[in-house]
């Protein structure tokens, strides 16, 4: 009887096996202790993982003298002025604006063109579809960096070096996104799209009025992942832009860091600048966590 009960508990919990061999009462006690030990262990790991973020904020609130003094852990008085200075007297906001603008444009391009490609690969019949799909698969795991030297030359020939437009159009392709959408499209009942076609609906209409509403969660995931990747990107933007005015946040932050931190003692301001950039992303993540996890689950299906 007891065995049966233990087996009926939801999802294979390690602790429930203990219930099998002990009486109900000590079993419960052992289960609670087990749970507590796990929580203590995970809380410890979480503290270590979150520590760089905490230390960033603590350091940002110190004075220059406090930050260099190894005896001081907490600032005596929180220096909110460091944040004010970074926000109002440094180009950080401008870099954020650039990043937001470029990321929004890139997301729009990637999602619209990616959805069209995924639709063509999933529902259209045309010559060369197989070849096209092989090309897309073949590009999937290539290191983008291998394209950077010719990419640089192409942008300079198009006269688009050192411009946000050049940056945006050179990031139009998101192979991962095409896979993600295609995977979602393939799970729709095939008859659905066929029926719409028979009714005379055009592909553009089917994609945005029938397929899109049914696969909206995948679109949300794609948008968020694409946004974060563009917003955080560093190598390619830093190679093709020179003018500080056109820097994205990562590049801008690094310039700020070289001026103030790496070779100076302006660590509180460098940490404040990092915090200004990192905290909004953490907040965004707090509210969108499940979509990122969905993206990973969908990717994992392939593996």
């Amino acid at each position: 009887m007891e065995n049966l009960q233990a087996l009926k508990l939801p999802s294979g919990k390690i602790a429930q096996e203990r219930c099998i061999t002990r009486t109900a009462k000590t079993g419960k006690l052992a289960w609670i202790t087990g749970e507590a030990v796990k929580h203590i262990f995970l809380a410890g790991i979480s503290l270590v993982m979150a520590f760089p973020f905490l230390w960033m904020v603590i350091s940002a609130l110190k004075t220059k003298a406090e930050v260099m003094n190894t005896e001081v852990f907490w600032p005596q008085e929180a220096q909110w002025g460091n944040f004010a200075e970074v926000i109002f007297h440094s180009p950080i906001l401008r870099y954020m604006g650039n990043s937001l603008l470029v990321s929004a444009a890139i997301v729009l391009l990637q999602v619209v063109t990616g959805a069209m490609m995924a639709y063509a690969l999933s529902f259209m019949r045309f010559r060369g579809r197989k070849t096209l799909f092989l090309v897309v698969v073949g590009t999937y795991m290539l290191p983008p960096a291998a394209t950077y030297i010719p990419g640089y030359i192409i942008l300079s020939q198009l006269n688009l070096l050192d411009s946000l437009t050049g940056l945006t159009i050179s990031c139009t392709v998101n192979i991962f996104g095409i896979f993600l959408l295609r995977q979602a499209f393939m799970q729709l009942p095939y008859g659905l799209v066929e029926a719409a076609k028979v009714d005379g609906a055009r592909p553009w209409y089917i994609l945005w009025k029938i397929v899109f509403p049914l696969t909206r969660p995948t679109f949300i995931t794609f948008i968020l992942m694409s946004f974060i990747t563009s917003y955080n990107s560093y190598m390619w933007p830093s190679l093709i832009t020179e003018t500080p005015d056109k820097a994205l946040i990562s590049q801008g932050l690094r310039m700020f860091f070289i001026e103030g931190g790496a070779y100076g003692t302006e660590w509180p301001k460098v940490m404040a600048a990092s915090a200004v950039i990192v905290i909004p992303l953490l907040l965004l993540f707090l509210f969108t966590q499940k979509w990122f996890i969905k993206g990973i689950s969908d990717t994992g299906m392939k593996g």
Binding site: S11, K38, V135, L239, S250, L253, V270, I293
Partner: protein
């Protein structure tokens, strides 16, 4: 008539992405191959065809093998702890009755923050005199380290930062995989009197092995592409101890303007990545419908 319309529609759907795909992916890869056989230096418009010289130089004196070794150390040094740690954390978090969402949030959050910003924070943590890493070591009565400033420990530091950033990511992959293991398998195992360890060894680990393979490939490809943290933390130094293949490519191309050699190293990168992707594709094909 209908056929032409259908072709036109297909073209309309494919071209908006096919053009940038050709201009910024396919053509550049081919062009890289061509440049790798020349002695182009970016400044002068003329260049000569030099055959395999760039590859020979790269493999003999050009630093390919030290960089390959660093890439391997970096790749294995991150992949092994990320994969085992991610798996164990996933098992632990999944077994919780409450609070698993909270831990997922904390452990996964480093992954979504910009590598440059957090690498700057880590530079500050690693500062030999005033950084908290050495304060902690001294507090534990352990010898302080030079971290990023010594060729002995620089790679370790870069690995630590990368590990910190990707651990939660691997955990989420495993959480998904664990959720898909059929419960009946465990029930059957328990009825047979299998111990917890036996269940783990004979059910859990084999059932999540596709995810493990996927993470091995993903981590290796990521190791091949790591740039942001290296650029901020060490710039490939001290004395080349953190110069990975991609960083070598960057230095040859965008610091020294040896475009031919840089392109050659890029081609080698592509070859290595293709082999890895091929392995992944071949193995996963069985369980996947593309």
């Amino acid at each position: 008539m209908y056929r032409w319309r259908r072709r036109g529609e297909a073209l309309f759907f494919v071209l908006p992405i096919l053009i940038p795909l050709i201009v910024f992916w396919i053509y550049p890869i081919i062009r890289s191959g061509w440049i790798s056989f020349t002695n182009w230096d970016y400044m002068t418009p003329e260049y000569d065809f030099v055959g395999l010289k760039n590859y020979k130089d790269l493999l003999s004196t050009g630093g390919f093998f030290p960089a390959l070794k660093n890439t391997l150390v970096f790749g294995l040094g991150t992949a092994i702890p990320v994969i085992t740690g991610g798996f164990l954390l996933a098992v632990l978090v999944r077994s919780l009755k409450k609070g698993s969402k909270f831990y997922q949030f904390i452990l996964f959050s480093p992954w979504i923050t910009p590598t440059v910003a957090i690498s700057i924070v880590w530079t500050w943590i690693f500062e030999p005199d005033t950084g908290i890493a050495n304060i902690v070591l001294r507090f534990l009565h352990m010898p302080a380290l030079q971290w990023l400033h010594s060729s002995q420990t620089a790679m370790l530091s870069v690995i630590l930062v990368t590990l910190w950033k990707t651990l939660g990511y691997a955990m989420i992959f495993y959480l998904t995989a664990l959720a898909k293991v059929p419960e009946e398998l465990y029930d059957a195992g328990k009825v047979d009197g299998a111990s917890k360890l036996a269940l783990m060894r004979h059910i859990t680990i084999p059932m999540v092995s596709p995810t493990t393979l996927f993470l091995v490939v993903l981590n290796t490809v990521n190791a091949l592409q790591a740039y942001d943290q290296i650029q901020v933390l060490t710039q490939g130094g001290p004395s080349g101890s953190t110069r990975t293949l991609l960083y070598l490519y960057y230095q040859l191309g965008f610091e020294q303007f040896h475009m031919g050699q840089a392109a050659a190293s890029g081609v080698l990168l592509v070859i290595i990545a293709s082999v890895l992707a091929g392995i992944q594709f071949a193995v996963s094909k069985k369980s996947v419908h593309y």
